[in-house]
């Protein structure tokens, strides 16, 4: 509790004690006194005003100020009117009690909101307070914001890594749990990149800084989480719009209740005034207005505890409605780490020549497949003579045209072979089709002289992830891949993916996604990518999810939801969180409105009294807040 809250609590306690004392005095002594009822009344009001003003003085003051500013439907003002009305009707205890409970409710609301705010920004515990910089052999603590790129910082065991960088000295295990939710520490050593926000658990690390603080992972994540609540969900906008009309309508109803029945039915004015006051007490829409963003805030917090960053309440809401999930295969469903399985030479060629030519062709390429070929070549122990290469030309989505000093070679997929009219015999095709994964052909100007098979490993969580999504009601799962149809179908079958779009060129993915979105009119379409080269698709989909995006700025930028680790199961988790959040939001709206409406009806019928109205206002708010806070405790059991 902060100072302000403590003060409020103190006032509340004093008022409650005083209220009890005053009530005892009033009931036991004052009413027995033999004086005129007007004096009795004045004394009673004076007595009850003490606890009333102690707890509600501020409310009255604020009401006055706000009414001067033209805020007619201000909650402070309405509370003031309601309680003054109760005084007028002689319901002194009720008047003071309503004010006390109103303050209790406010206090509770305040504490709850603060608590969930800190829970979320427990992510803020990510925020490093200092960085150690070595100066004249001694460590000096400086503000992380003052450290420049290429400075070397020292991180001691148990300390947070304050800035992103490369280890130049030392090795250790780092705990990435604050970022990824993953509890197994990761081993790092010289040359490895490390992310700010991780905790160094063992050795001393010397890190060369690669990003200034504002650009570092921690700053980005904090920024994103803080920003998340500014992107409001539909339910949130709905409820604020609703609140705008709710208060005036209830207040006008109160006036009608106070005025009309006494005139029409010629009943007592004070009876109907009492009933109207009940309306005023429940006219504040706070329970509703607060519980919706609080629920979403809790949902976003729960997600970040699982290493899932959701960039806005709206995305959490949309995720709950997602019915089509489109995966970019490589790096999301598969590890994205390719390995050469087999090098096959045809006719009189030698295998080492095949792999050498392929490696030459791919030498400047950054594609994971190219890298795997180069790695495989390096493992043969042979060296590559770059002078033999005259030119390499990359044909996107097909392969590479290598101009070797001994002649021209084509290294790439079937499309490349077809494009240059290289014949692929039926026997060869039959042989190739047995392989899973990618096949890279090597051909001279006339014939295919060999091929290399490369495969990517399916992540162990992928199958379970897809099954969970289907079970949760995702009706279509789609896999996009540049792989051959046979290989793609086999992977898809293993993962029980429903739709496969294979042999796509890089540019085709976006248009494939667009047509999926166009044909899906019953729900939201999600695109899941590993963040490499798929920013347009991430942006285009209703929800773009970037996976394993820790440290990848472009992906973090383009995606709506970022999975810090690369576990595809988190997609189902975030959907569950979204649905739970929406469920809580709905419960709150129905419950709060239901109770308020019921109390209004009972109020008009004369069944409900002031106490029930206080419950309908404060009690409902408290229950709605408690309900919303359940989200913070969400734990995904199926992970």
């Amino acid at each position: 509790m902060n100072k302000k809250q403590k003060r409020t609590l103190k006032n509340i306690i004093i008022s409650i004690i005083l209220l009890v004392v005053v009530t005892i005095i009033y009931k036991l002594f004052l009413q027995e006194l033999n004086i005129s009822s007007v004096i009795k009344r004045i004394i009673a009001i004076g007595l009850y005003l003490i606890p009333y003003l102690i707890v509600g003085g501020k409310v009255l003051l604020k009401a006055g100020k706000n009414i001067l500013n033209g805020q007619v439907f201000d909650e402070n003002f309405l509370m003031t009117i309601a309680t003054i009305g109760a005084f007028v009707l002689g319901e002194y205890t009720e008047a003071a009690a309503v004010m006390i409970f109103y303050q209790v409710g406010e206090l509770f609301e305040n504490i709850a909101v603060n608590k969930s705010r800190t829970a979320i920004t427990s992510l803020v515990k990510l925020r490093p307070d200092y960085a150690n910089v070595e100066k004249d052999g001694e460590l000096e603590k400086v503000d992380p914001e003052d450290v420049n790129i290429d400075d070397v910082i020292v991180v001691l065991p148990g300390e947070k890594i304050p800035l992103d960088g490369v280890i130049v000295e030392g090795e250790s295990y780092v705990d990435t749990s604050a970022l990824t939710g993953e509890s197994v520490p990761r081993r790092v050593a010289t040359g490895d990149n490390v992310m700010s926000g991780c905790v160094n658990t063992q050795g001393v690390l010397h890190i060369k800084v690669t990003k200034v603080f504002g650009e570092s992972t921690v700053a980005k994540i904090l920024d994103m989480v803080e920003n998340a609540s500014t992107r409001k969900s539909r339910s949130e906008s709905f409820i604020t719009r609703f609140a705008k009309y709710y208060t005036p309508i209830v207040v006008i109803s109160a006036v009608i209740v106070a005025v009309l029945p006494p005139i029409i039915l010629s009943q007592s004015f004070s009876m109907w005034l009492g009933r109207a006051l009940i309306f005023l007490v429940i006219s504040c829409p706070c329970a509703l207005v607060i519980s919706v963003p609080l629920s979403f805030f809790g949902g976003i917090g729960a997600a970040s505890n699982h290493g899932i960053l959701v960039k806005g309440s709206n995305y959490l809401e949309a995720m709950a409605e997602a019915n089509t999930i489109v995966f970019d295969k490589t790096g999301t469903l598969t590890e994205g780490v390719f390995k050469v399985n087999q090098v096959v030479a045809i006719a009189n060629e030698r295998e080492d020549k095949i792999i050498q030519l392929a490696a030459m062709a791919e030498i400047y390429s950054n594609h994971p497949i190219a890298k795997s070929i180069i790695t495989a070549f390096e493992e043969t122990g042979n060296a590559l003579d770059k002078d033999d290469i005259i030119d390499v030309e990359e044909l996107a989505g097909k392969g590479i045209l290598l101009t070797h000093k001994e002649g021209k070679y084509y290294v790439g997929n079937q499309a490349l072979m077809n494009a240059y009219d290289i014949p692929l015999s039926e026997e060869l095709m039959a042989e190739v089709s047995k392989h899973l994964g990618t096949v890279c052909y090597v051909a001279d100007e006339k014939d295919c002289i060999g091929y290399i098979t490369i495969s990517d490993v399916i992540k162990k969580d992928s199958k379970n992830a897809i099954e969970r999504l289907h079970k949760q009601g995702v009706k279509n799962s789609v896999m996009l891949t540049g792989d051959r149809k046979e290989a793609a179908d086999k992977v898809a079958k293993e993962l029980s993916i429903k739709t496969i779009l294979s042999e796509l060129l890089p540019g085709d993915k976006l248009s494939a996604l667009e047509s999926i979105i166009k044909n899906n009119d019953s729900g939201k379409t999600v695109f899941v990518g590993d963040g490499i080269n798929d920013a347009p698709a991430l942006t285009r989909a209703d929800i773009g999810i970037a996976m394993g995006a820790l440290g990848q700025d472009a992906a973090i930028e383009a995606a709506d939801i970022v999975l810090m680790d690369d576990n595809p199961g988190k997609i189902a988790t975030v959907q569950t969180i979204g649905r739970k959040t929406i469920a809580i939001v709905r419960q709150n709206i129905v419950f709060a409105l239901g109770v308020k409406f019921l109390v209004m009806v009972l109020g008009v019928l004369g069944v409900a009294n002031m106490w029930l109205a206080v419950f309908a206002d404060v009690g409902v708010a408290v229950i709605a807040i408690l309900n919303a806070m359940r989200m913070l405790k969400f734990k995904d059991d199926s992970m």
């Binding site: 706000n66 500013n69 920003n227 500014t230 609140a243 706070c286 207005v289 607060i290 609080l294």
Partner: protein
């Protein structure tokens, strides 16, 4: 230009909504959000209008809740 400001003593969610609405009505503003949960105000407006808009935003906030203020 988009800027974010911290808010102090923003105690009521409904007030935040009212402030947001009031600030959105300021002349020249492109977008504004008041996040009750994050206690933050985000304003998007052209650079040359910013100072004037901020002054008006401060007033708008005070008008809804006199205790609440924008940390400039």
């Amino acid at each position: 230009m988009k800027k974010r400001f911290d808010m102090e003593d923003l105690d009521c969610a409904n007030c935040a909504a009212k402030m947001e609405e009031a600030i959105k009505k300021i002349d020249g503003i492109q977008d504004a959000t008041v996040s009750f949960m994050a206690q933050k105000l985000t304003i998007e407006a052209a650079e040359e209008d910013f100072d004037r808009i901020m002054k008006e935003a401060v007033k708008a906030v005070k008008k809804v809740d006199s205790d609440c203020s924008i940390v400039l």
